[in-house]
Subunit: 320 residues, 2 copies
């Protein structure tokens, strides 16, 4: 099948490309390279079933040209601003890079009759709720612009499914870690420790506890759900049952860097930043009963990610 | 208080203006006059506490100028494409007129420190759910682009509330009828009967049953909720407990027009059009326990609306 991956040179998108190519599909990666990197997909350069196109998926004209050229059977829409904190600074980043890219993708799908969409949604759509987060849980009042843009995307996807006969797989991601990550707490810690190996500044009081899913597990979940769930709008939480405390993440990073006697300094408060959700109870019963479970625990995922990032050495360009 | 009403020359917006002016506020109505009409607000022309400004609320530059000029204490954001069927035809109508106007309004509120937002949301955010529609009900998978744009707006409002200290009143409207309405089943029937008083075409099988709220009741609900609910994001369904069958609406319109022996012809099927929700069970327990109830039944609202529209005579420009 011909498949378009928007955000295909990004952290998760490039892993999806790896797996879809391994399955024998023809894969077009579209990416504006704002967070994505050529290095993430460079190993497919000579694969005749692979194309890379630099474009802004929010630009209807550019995207339309790609849809016109290839007859896609499915779109994996992963293009988004994945940096929640950046979105809080520049108001239109999430609107344009996360929501408008979705709308433009849907318009092209309608125009060119593409009937399958796999969408990277997020646990951030739930906002800060004091109950187990099941797929049917409401109300949905996200507290970050990122979460708002993902919720807005879900809404338009649902309407396009109803009106244009599209089938969608909306997968709500938790925090995802692993090779090629571009930001997040693990990278922040590594960068801070590179600057000062004696002391580590930790946002909040260290008690924030979240599930971290290993990127390879996530990609497995995505492809599993795409194959298995056969409704019109299939919405599933993907994640891992365990969770990692921020202070544990700090300890793992210190260990993997081979450092000793690092002093942890906490900024205090129950959250890292405005819009941060300190902890949540993410229900995985739907995806588990469909037959998928993460193979690494959250702490294992953090360790694998820290190790990959330290080995890769490509953590310098992201600030802490 | 200085209050901005976006969509202030529209069906509901102009009624909100009437009431806010009666309460002694200084009211600025902004409207692009695509659905709104000068006639709806002409009676305030000589009121020194009233201003009308023709502008497109999706245009940041235009809207910013209005925020700069007046020190608003509150914004009633009612600008939207209220014509669900038109939205299905022209894909960017709901995105621009309903969602982008919300985002632009929120940006201006942040920039100029306006801390109160009353938002016209819709029962359409619920999509087609087979359970009682409470404010906390999920999942939210709207089936119309209109519902998608309203849900998307809610998401961004919620994020701005968290990040900018804004307080919001999100009121989910059902079908609203009354003086100055621009479209909908009552107008459609009147227009069809004007063309052919012998026969009336009814979309669907006539069994679709929905609650119709009288516009004066809705405006009362909006102002009541704005005053009473004091959370950060206050989300409430507004509506009426009773409902009207499409065939009953047809009968009321025929009666109010003084016609006899009209033959009803049904197109068949359980809904009027793709994206139409044939019936739903809308929970009003939250707004009822806050202390507000509609004073007219759904059938009474339909009759009042039909009468006003027939008397007003301004029903010709909207097709059936």
């Amino acid at each position: 099948m011909n498949i378009l991956i928007t955000g295909g040179a990004g952290f998760i998108g490039s892993h999806v490309a790896d797996r879809l190519l391994a399955q024998g599909h023809f894969v077009v990666c579209a990416d504006n390279l704002s967070l994505g990197k050529i290095a993430n997909i460079a190993h497919h350069k000579n694969n005749p079933r692979f194309r890379f196109i630099k474009l802004d998926a929010a630009d209807l004209k550019q995207l339309r040209a790609v849809f016109k050229r290839y007859r896609f059977g499915c779109v994996f829409h992963l293009a988004a601003n994945s940096d929640i904190q950046a979105g809080a600074k520049y108001l239109d980043v999430d609107f344009k890079n996360t929501l408008l890219t979705t709308f433009t993708t849907l318009r092209c799908m309608k125009e060119f009759g593409v009937k399958q969409l796999v969408f990277a949604s997020s646990s951030a759509v739930y906002g800060e709720l004091d109950k187990p987060l099941k797929e049917e849980t409401g109300p949905l009042f996200p507290i970050s612009y990122y979460g708002a843009a993902k919720l807005a995307s879900e809404g338009f996807i649902s309407a396009f499914c109803e009106n244009c006969g599209i089938k969608a797989w909306i997968i709500r991601f938790p925090n995802v870690v692993g090779e090629r990550t571009t930001h997040g707490v693990i990278l922040d810690f590594i960068n801070r420790l590179k600057k000062n190996p004696k002391e580590l500044l930790i946002l909040g009081d260290g008690s924030q506890k979240k599930p971290y899913l290993y990127v390879q597990d996530l990609v497995e979940a995505i492809l599993f759900v795409w194959k298995k769930a056969q409704g019109k709008v299939n919405c599933l939480n993907a994640g891992v049952s365990s969770a990692s405390r921020v202070s544990t993440i700090a300890r793992i990073v210190v260990e993997e860097m081979g450092l000793k006697k690092v002093k942890f300094k906490y900024t205090g408060g129950d959250r890292g930043w405005v819009g941060d959700v300190p902890r949540f109870s993410y229900s995985l019963s739907k995806i588990h009963s469909l037959g998928w479970k993460a193979s690494r625990t959250s702490d294992e995922a953090v360790r694998l990610a820290a190790r990959a990032c330290i080995a890769g050495g490509d953590c310098s360009r992201v600030g802490g």
